[in-house]
Symmetry: C2
Subunit: 277 residues, 2 copies
Amino acid sequence: MILVNGECREHIEVSDRGFQYGDGLFETIAVINGRPVFFDRHLDRLKAGCHRLYIPFPGSELLSFEAQKLSRHANNAVLKLILTRGSGGRGYRQPELIEATRVLSTHPFPDYPGSYKEQGIVARFCDTRLGLNPVLAGIKHLNRLEQVLARSEWTDSGIQEGIMLDMNEHVIEGTMTNLFYIKKGVLYTSSLSFSGVAGIMRGIILVLSHDHGIAVIERTFTKDELLLADEIFVCNSIVGIWPVKQIAKKRFPAGAGTRQLQVWLAQFQHEAIRGGQ
Amino acid sequence: MILVNGECREHIEVSDRGFQYGDGLFETIAVINGRPVFFDRHLDRLKAGCHRLYIPFPGSELLSFEAQKLSRHANNAVLKLILTRGSGGRGYRQPELIEATRVLSTHPFPDYPGSYKEQGIVARFCDTRLGLNPVLAGIKHLNRLEQVLARSEWTDSGIQEGIMLDMNEHVIEGTMTNLFYIKKGVLYTSSLSFSGVAGIMRGIILVLSHDHGIAVIERTFTKDELLLADEIFVCNSIVGIWPVKQIAKKRFPAGAGTRQLQVWLAQFQHEAIRGGQ
């Protein structure tokens, strides 16, 4: 089911700037028992993205209303929310009056095997590099060709995620996940000043680590530093936390630190769902 | 008038990857006397872009047929051709069988004053930087947020173009044009290995310069080097060549070198239109 500006339809105008230029933002939200999970956090990030791109935010109430309208028909599902600058303007120049287009759609929850969460996944390093751009770094915008090209590098179903480096050979994230590693009890994840998406699940893991007194360092690091990690995991709003059991033939344990974060996340998510967040 | 996969309609599917991820390419083509100008060159660039993004090229004959169908109703117009990876796939992962979506549309020819071509335009330096990404550099893909943000930096109608630098402070191009400068009879333009669009008009100017024995140097250069130029001009398929008469309070003449290229271009274009190219 798809809602375009509140109406049930499956099409958008060719003139929409989302189609013409990728001029917009999106959120990918887990729906559990008919309710969007961490929806407030997704709205906060969307609002921050609107601020960065000068797209008027349609308001939390309207988006919540439409999200609930779609989600209540689903049991477990994925809710995708796209917000574009709408139609109009002249070439790249935006119209004086921006009327954002909002598109909400639900999709089946992906049927990943339970082993991904328990024993971990196999990852590879992608050749496609993330460009460097501080203006776009962090936000979840619609310009996603880098991820599409990175994901097209492999078809082997034994590999679940590709790890992307930036132009400076820093490890940044997975094609659809953020990445963390643990070394001597300290949690590391890439800073996202020049590329990458500041994932909702990444943000929650930073909060959980802080609350439980785990030291976290956000900084750039290389492939070689990553491969010296004690544990590695990736995360996003749909899969939660997946340990990485192997990258580039090197094996890693789904260790105690990752397990502990999975437990804290499950509790945190349970409370959020109960609290209606 | 809009043709989507050969049918008259104004909508595309929400699921189209052009809308979801900016997963596609486009061409902006001048139509003069009902005929698309330099169409073969546009098709060649589109084909090169398809090769880079692994999108199947729909074939020159089909695209020519549809372009002519639209153009013959227009006298002078702009023809926009968008080609996307179509619908399907799972997230960023592309479908096994890609059925590209093609969208052709005509738009009124912009009513720029003749003075832009004759006396020149006023330009400014943009704050928005172009990201660095060799995989996407040169092709005219649909991930255009950088240009949208750069174009949103000014509303002063006395300024006609914004000049964009990359993350390394190299001058690359205008928001909707390529840029050249002339110094001591030599023509300079930025290399496009890490960012920028390899414009059709840029390519023609390189050919014309070569044919007429003008030395051309393609390399990176700074803002300071640009401001020491004897002449500066910008170009694209719709406006041809516009001298730049002023950037950042510094004035430049619409000099003999730029004039000469305008004359050669007019002849070349005239022959192309007569030859049906």
